[in-house]
């Protein structure tokens, strides 16, 4: 821990980390970083580093928590034991339980929970490195992760803190300013200015409060633009990468998704109506099943692109081939009998 600095703001109006009073720290946002989560986001906010994961809507466990008319939202804010200078005792404590509660409330109202009755939307935010303002960073990351998970929302939520040091209002406090400053006020809001979280620690006059609110609004607006850009860039990047023929990575990950069907032993019994199995019949089935129009017209790409991306796709890993082959052989044998 550093000691309290003599001055937070020098005579030129520059803060200890070379920012002006109304500047936020650098933000870096990455979308879709966790492959097993339905939606995820990694966010750096100055020296803060947080990772958000969203799962759901999914079944509610324990069952009694489920609501018959809407989805429940669960938010877990957790600080890693190595996220601060002195080791933090792991596990939920008074502070992280409170942060989880207010952050959940900051996001819950923006989610269309009524679309998914009896289900749960779980949000987990892990603080990997903390440097004041982790709850705002966590909300920013969680909001992007929710969008990535395809969960319907009224809007994204952006959060930013405002505080007072050396009798001056400053935007987005850093660690020293937070520890030794006179006030800290985290705010979360939607882009149209609805405030979904507002807390305050320390003292502000009415005038300062009003002014601080305006500063935070501007900060949130800047963060919103970055969140939005991160989501849009993520989509565009995916498009470019794959279109350029670099499908290899994606294709290689895949074999795990394939599961051979378990053979039902009593086939004959079930099949006494003679309906199962042979190829022609299934074909008829499938065509009957999907007459409807789906998706939009697919325009033709140019031939070069085609060759690049189409032909070079590697085969599924050899091991997978082998096992699949074995299983299917036995299956075929049994069905031929």
């Amino acid at each position: 821990m550093t000691d309290k600095p003599e001055k937070f703001i020098d005579e030129n109006g520059i803060r200890s980390d070379n920012r002006r009073a109304n500047e936020i720290r650098d933000v870096k946002i990455e979308v879709g970083v966790l492959s097993r989560a339905d939606g995820s986001c990694y966010l750096e906010f100055g020296k803060n580093k947080v990772m958000a994961a969203v799962y759901g809507p999914r079944e509610v466990h324990p069952r009694h928590q489920q609501k018959s008319n809407r989805a429940i939202v669960r938010y877990k804010y957790n600080m890693a034991s190595f996220s601060v200078e002195d080791r933090k005792r792991p596990g939920p404590d008074r502070r992280s339980i409170e942060v989880s509660k207010v952050s959940r409330e900051a996001l819950e109202d923006q989610i269309f929970t009524e679309y998914f009755p009896k289900s749960a939307i779980d949000i987990f935010v892990e603080v990997l490195q903390a440097d004041a303002g982790t709850r705002t960073a966590a909300i920013n990351a969680a909001s992007v992760a929710l969008a990535d998970a395809g969960i319907p929302m009224r809007s994204l939520v952006s959060a930013c803190a405002v505080g007072k040091v050396d009798d001056t209002l400053v935007l987005d406090l850093n660690k020293d300013e937070d520890n030794y400053g006179q006030a800290d006020m985290p705010i979360a809001m939607t882009p149209d200015g609805k405030i979904t979280l507002l807390q305050m620690d320390g003292h502000l006059t009415e005038e300062e409060f009003k002014q601080g609110l305006e500063m935070a609004q501007e900060g949130c607006r800047q963060i919103y633009e970055m969140q939005r850009k991160a989501l849009i860039d993520y989509y565009s990047k995916e498009t470019e990468v794959t279109a350029a023929g670099d499908v290899k990575e994606n294709a290689q990950e895949k074999p795990e998704g394939v599961t051979p069907v378990e053979v039902i032993e009593d086939t004959e019994k079930i099949d006494d109506t003679n309906k199962t199995g042979d190829a022609k019949e299934t074909e008829g089935t499938v065509e009957n099943v999907y007459p409807e129009e789906t998706g939009d017209t697919v325009k033709s790409g140019d031939a070069d692109e085609l060759e690049d991306s189409g032909v070079e796709v590697p085969h599924i890993g050899e091991n997978a081939d082998e096992t699949d082959g074995q299983m299917d052989e036995s299956e075929e044998e049994s069905s031929n009998e």
């Binding site: 929302m153 809007s155 994204l156 498009t239 294709a251 394939v258 697919v298």
Partner: protein, 237 residues
């Protein structure tokens, strides 16, 4: 047709009548409620890039038995909600004590969603001659939002896949795909399906897949076949 990427809360239109799927109306204006692509015909829709399968009446899905109760099979339909198949919905009259003999835990079945109640109780049925337990082939899972792309406009993608790979392919609305055919054909079909899933949002998909399928045929004749037969020889030894 112009496509735009939007995030939740993006303004779409002043005309409330144009509000389609994936949008909401607030104070007389239409906004997106999803992160996805817009498509505008009579209505503005937002098509999500990800999301879970939510069952609707009449959907055909590939389900897996997860539990058997006194008179119901409880089915995993890859959704936040589980499906219930009552014995009476089996094509033939069977005794509830014999349920296990017909479909045990782990069996995959082609079923139809009969009814979804307000409280999301999902009732399934097999009372249709298309519907039956799955006894051969392979099952792969893709994201439910990619299902329209798997099928293509008027079934163009799926019929091409079936023709080029000589496989029978059934795409469940829940994103579970059932493929039957020869081993090597299934390998190819599954590879193609995975390409579709990864590149579902990129223009020119059908052409690329058709290129892949046709290109692969030539390749196979040169290289892949000998490699495959080596493995077969090893196995036979």
């Amino acid at each position: 047709m112009d496509k735009n990427i939007v995030v939740p809360g993006d303004f779409l239109s002043d005309d409330v009548k144009k509000a389609g799927d994936g949008t909401y109306v607030s104070e007389g204006k239409v906004y997106s409620n999803l992160y996805g692509l817009t498509s505008e015909k009579e209505k503005i829709r937002v098509v999500s890039l990800s999301g879970k399968y939510i069952p609707h009446d009449g959907d055909l899905v590939v389900a897996t038995v997860s539990e058997i109760t006194f008179s119901n099979w409880i089915m995993d339909i890859k959704s936040p909600y589980e499906g219930l198949l009552n014995v009476s919905e089996y094509p033939r009259r069977i005794d509830s004590s014999d349920m296990v003999k017909y479909m045990d835990v782990g069996s995959s079945v082609l079923v139809m969603v009969k009814n979804v109640s307000r409280s999301m109780k999902v009732e399934l049925t097999m009372r249709n001659n298309k519907l039956r337990p799955i006894t051969s082939g392979r099952i792969i899972q893709v994201s439910a939002v990619k299902v329209p792309r798997m099928i293509g406009r008027n079934g163009s993608m799926i019929s091409m896949l079936k023709k080029e790979t000589n496989c029978n392919i059934f795409v469940g609305q829940n994103g579970v795909i059932w493929v039957t055919g020869k081993d090597r054909d299934m390998d190819k079909a599954i590879e193609a399906i995975q390409i579709i899933e990864n590149e579902a949002h990129i223009d020119g998909l059908t052409d690329r897949i058709s290129g892949f399928l046709k290109g692969n045929v030539e390749k196979e004749q040169e290289t892949v076949k000998p490699a495959g037969s080596e493995i077969l020889d090893e196995l036979l030894d």
